[in-house]
Symmetry: C2
Subunit: 197 residues, 2 copies
């Protein structure tokens, strides 16, 4: 299999292994980068492991700890350059998002990330609620579609109304910031720890 | 099915629903608490959702942000009383653990939490490395057991050498603290965000 110079370069950056080792690893792995890393590790290039997760993007990790320390948030927001990551606008946005997550309890960043299990369980509950209210079947399906839409709006960070300005969604805020700073900005991930949960 | 008063009380605490509703929900769910909560939600007791995750333990959520904000940690450490959670010793411990996680990159708190997939992949790599070195089969199995033990010690938080005092493990530190404060203390969970990982 033909391996491009760009692929070899990427594997070298990820692992620190030599050029010929990287080329061979990619050939043996049919061009699969993860398998090539495993191949190099098997050959004894143990250092690989440490470099594999190295930083490739700019942005910041922002915490928010609610007074009393019983609730804590960590958010990662990415941008394209370190310059933008240090601007007042970017830093204000990251703090606002972290505080928003504390108050609004999103489950995921965007609806594509909501697990099918969670969606199925919600649908089952809506259907049972609608039957409990004695609604006819042809109305039930319409009702549950509307309810699921509302569920997404309440539980996906990007679709939630911003707690400090409920006329805007987090997505609206993000779009404004991208337009102002002229760089792509992504809310990559968040975590929300509440004591004893 | 007979439902105990204690079970009804627990479901009431979790959901805020009335006593008779809780008893019926438990009977319909054969005593399964989670199913009983779903049952109450289906019956339209929507508030259930909000109270289900309420705090039952003491302790604190502790962040650590590395200078530059490219690396952030969030740790939850539980104890039995709020009094202990406010002591200097407890707070020092939580800060030490958060900083340790930043430096030592554990994967899980304890080895029981390490996923079988990760263990299997490590074993496969050790086996291939040993073969590469031309070791005979009867030695290989002994070698990989030793290597896996080392992997646990390097990647499970409780077994790691404490970065500020490598003669002690985190487990040692925790045991000392429990003995000093006279309360059970548990490192419940942590998360480690590194930019672009």
């Amino acid at each position: 299999m033909a391996i491009s110079a760009a692929e070899v370069k990427l594997l070298r950056e990820k692992t620190g292994a030599g050029m010929m080792d990287c080329k061979k690893a990619l050939q043996e792995s049919n061009g699969d980068m993860d398998k090539a890393i495993d191949y190099l590790r098997k050959k004894g290039l143990q250092k690989v492991e440490k470099k594999a997760g190295r930083t490739t993007q700019e942005g910041i990790i922002q915490p928010y700890i609610h007074p009393g320390s019983r609730l804590g948030i960590l958010v990662e927001i990415n941008c394209e350059t370190d310059f933008v990551a240090r601007t007042e606008d970017f830093l204000t946005f990251t703090k606002d998002v972290a505080m928003h997550v504390a108050a609004a309890k999103p489950i995921v960043v965007s609806r594509e990330q909501m697990s099918q299990d969670v969606v199925d369980k919600e649908l089952e509950i809506y259907r049972a609620q609608a039957r409990e209210q004695g609604k006819p079947d042809h109305i039930i399906e319409k009702m549950i579609t509307g309810k699921l839409e509302k569920f997404y709006q309440e539980n996906c960070l990007l679709e939630q109304a911003f707690v400090k300005d409920p006329d805007k969604t987090i997505k609206d805020l993000l779009t404004e910031l991208i337009s102002k700073l002229g760089e792509n900005i992504v809310i990559k991930r968040f975590v929300r720890f509440q004591l004893g949960e």
